[in-house]
């Protein structure tokens, strides 16, 4: 499973095919020691929390390290259209260039085209450190195309990390090859370990020339997934597990899944909300199966967090996404443009960027530690959520009105912990027009006490205040965590003095549906 956000993008013929994506992801052991600083894997925790060899693998991988995702970009190439299972949250016929969710792509590439695209993107975007193959079908149901792409990229640009995301059915057959290509990150989407649950998620799987249905299908899939996970762990390949949270079907069960994958060496667990809308034409979309609310998702993630790192920064991007998580520059790199581009792959320039990020990261970390000292002596149990408008670099540097998403931090006396993000770009949503954009933002961050922005207009300021969310622009261009801690300290003081009331915030809405650029005709994407 990931994210193309360009309305009006012309899909090519191939593009009919779109698919389900499977999320891409990671593996064993970050921060098993636990501790308050640990949020997403290696996130704020950073190098100190991880064995050095593991940190080396994840530190520049935006999907495996929350901290890295502020600085580094990933790209997916859609070389793997075929799939070997059917999921009730996927509809392979749905094709919409405005859609941002796993499994959806607008153009299928050959391994040759894909490798060229990777080099073109790498030469223009030094932040791009990771190539993932996530679909739109299953990469391991298309092994020749998947490994053919890896082979070409591995030879031309050895500094690019390779990863893939699979449903796991074919995984045990390919672990040796995955190791040969030095793919050191693999994501398996595991939604259940109980065939009773699985039968409600997977109508069928195709395995060794036979279609299995019902509980037989789910049992087979689950066995293959767990076997594959164990093999990856044994081979020293970092494995992330993605799970789609489907309320009423596997929400409680995912706690069991978490234990099962943790015990088999999974490195990171990424519980994602179901994306489901009738216009997607999926079984769940048509049956009215709802996705979780923001607080339901957070509660489950918190429950699973025990000794295992949870990934909370996943953007569920498309199988052809390009850019930082949360942005998609895929439309800049059409096949047509890439064919005509003069690609200058400059490894030196890319290394220079990574070096500059290291400097920036150290500064950010030092500033955070310094600010954290100011919370020493505070013993409040009060936790609050803050929304932050950022366009990368770990800073409060986005204008409120331009934000396509807000990052959410949970504040406590232990510091700032990244706990998620909320998409607020305009989606195809029956009934909501452009004028309701602000109302949509408020619904999306309704559980937050304040929103930190680089800039904000007078009108939205007033509306936010009315909704009980404090608009804060005094930390413009500051580091996110440092700013958040400073705000929180002031909040606790105001709480003590009675200047702010201690009220529980409500829940918030996770947006569903396809992205539409502001001003685009609303019906276009559906």
């Amino acid at each position: 499973m990931e994210a193309l956000m360009e309305p009006g993008r012309v899909s090519e013929r191939f593009s009919k095919l779109k698919g389900l994506a499977i999320a891409v992801a990671p593996h064993k052991g970050c921060g098993s020691s636990g501790g308050s600083g640990k949020s997403s894997c290696g996130s704020s925790a950073g190098s100190g929390d991880l064995p050095p060899d593991v940190w080396e693998k994840v530190k520049n991988h935006p999907c495996y390290s929350e901290e890295a995702h502020h600085h580094y970009a990933r790209m997916h190439v859609a070389v793997a259209p075929a799939c070997n299972i059917q999921c009730n949250y996927c509809n392979r016929k749905y094709d919409c260039a405005n859609e941002s969710r796993p499994g959806v792509v607008s153009e299928r590439l050959t391994p040759e085209q894909a490798a060229r695209k990777v080099l073109a993107v790498a030469s223009e975007i030094p932040q791009m450190t990771v190539l993932g193959i996530a679909g739109p079908g299953d990469p391991l149901a298309n092994p020749d195309k998947t490994f053919g792409t890896f082979d070409r990229v591995f030879k031309a640009a050895p500094d690019i990390k390779l990863c893939l995301s699979t449903n796991g059915l074919a995984l045990p057959d390919h672990v040796a090859r995955i190791k040969d290509f030095k793919v050191d990150h693999v994501t398996i989407t595991i939604n259940m370990i109980d065939p009773e649950v699985g039968a409600r998620i997977y109508p069928w799987v195709f395995f060794r020339h036979k279609r299995y249905t019902g509980k037989d299908a789910a049992k087979l899939l689950s066995e293959r997934q767990l076997e594959g996970l164990e093999m990856l762990t044994q081979a020293g390949i970092l494995c992330k597990v993605n799970s789609v949270m489907i309320p009423g079907i596997n929400d409680d069960h995912l706690v069991e899944v978490n234990k099962a994958v943790k015990s088999r060496g999974a490195f990171l667990h990424n519980i994602m909300p179901l994306i489901s809308a009738p216009e997607h034409g999926t079984v769940f979309g048509l049956s009215g199966q709802r996705g979780p609310t923001a607080q339901e998702l957070k509660a489950l993630q918190d429950k699973c967090e025990g000794e295992m790192n949870m990934m909370r920064h996943c953007r569920q991007c498309r199988a052809d996404a390009v850019g930082l998580l949360g942005e998609d520059r895929g439309a800049e790199f059409t096949t047509e443009r890439i064919e005509s581009m003069e690609v200058q792959y400059d490894a030196g320039k890319r290394q220079a960027y990574r070096d500059s990020v290291e400097v920036e990261r150290s500064a950010r970390r030092a500033a955070r530690e310094q600010e954290l000292l100011t919370l020493a002596g505070e013993n409040s149990n009060r936790k609050i959520l803050l929304a932050v408008a950022t366009k990368g670099g770990g800073k409060v540097n986005e204008h409120f009105g331009h934000a396509k998403e807000f990052q959410i931090y949970e504040m406590s006396t232990a510091g700032a912990k990244f706990v998620g993000h909320r998409r607020v770009d305009l989606y195809c949503q029956g009934g909501y027009g452009e004028e309701d954009a602000l109302a949509g933002v408020i619904r999306a961050i309704n559980d937050c006490v304040a929103v930190l922005v680089a800039k904000i207009g007078a009108c939205p300021k007033e509306e936010l205040r009315k909704a009980g969310i404090e608009p804060i622009d005094q930390y413009a261009y500051g580091y996110i965590e440092t700013s958040a801690i400073s705000y929180y300290r002031g909040y606790l003081e105001r709480l003590k003095s009675g200047a702010v009331a201690d009220v529980e915030r409500g829940d918030a809405v996770i947006r569903q549906g396809a992205f539409v650029e502001v001003g685009a005709p609303a019906g276009q994407a559906a």
Partner: protein, 72 residues
């Protein structure tokens, strides 16, 4: 009767192509076709037609009634 692929339903995902034991499936302009002269309905190979079993869209690989039934 050989199988055929309903073009308007085909997503072009290519899953069927490598599964066909007769190499009867090929791609043309992003859509896949079954060569009726090569299709054996998988008789003699598998219990079920492989293209039907792997296709992600129901009723896309169907029996082509304009041809006589396949004879071993």
């Amino acid at each position: 009767m050989p199988y055929k692929i309903v073009a308007s339903q085909c997503t072009g995902c290519s899953a069927c192509e490598p599964e066909c034991p007769n190499k009867a499936i090929s791609e043309k302009d992003g859509i896949f076709l079954i060569d009726p002269k090569k299709c054996t309905e998988c008789i003699g190979f598998f219990d079920e037609p492989q293209c039907v079993a792997v296709c992600p869209v129901d009723k896309t690989c169907i029996v082509d009634k304009s041809f006589p039934r396949y004879q071993k």
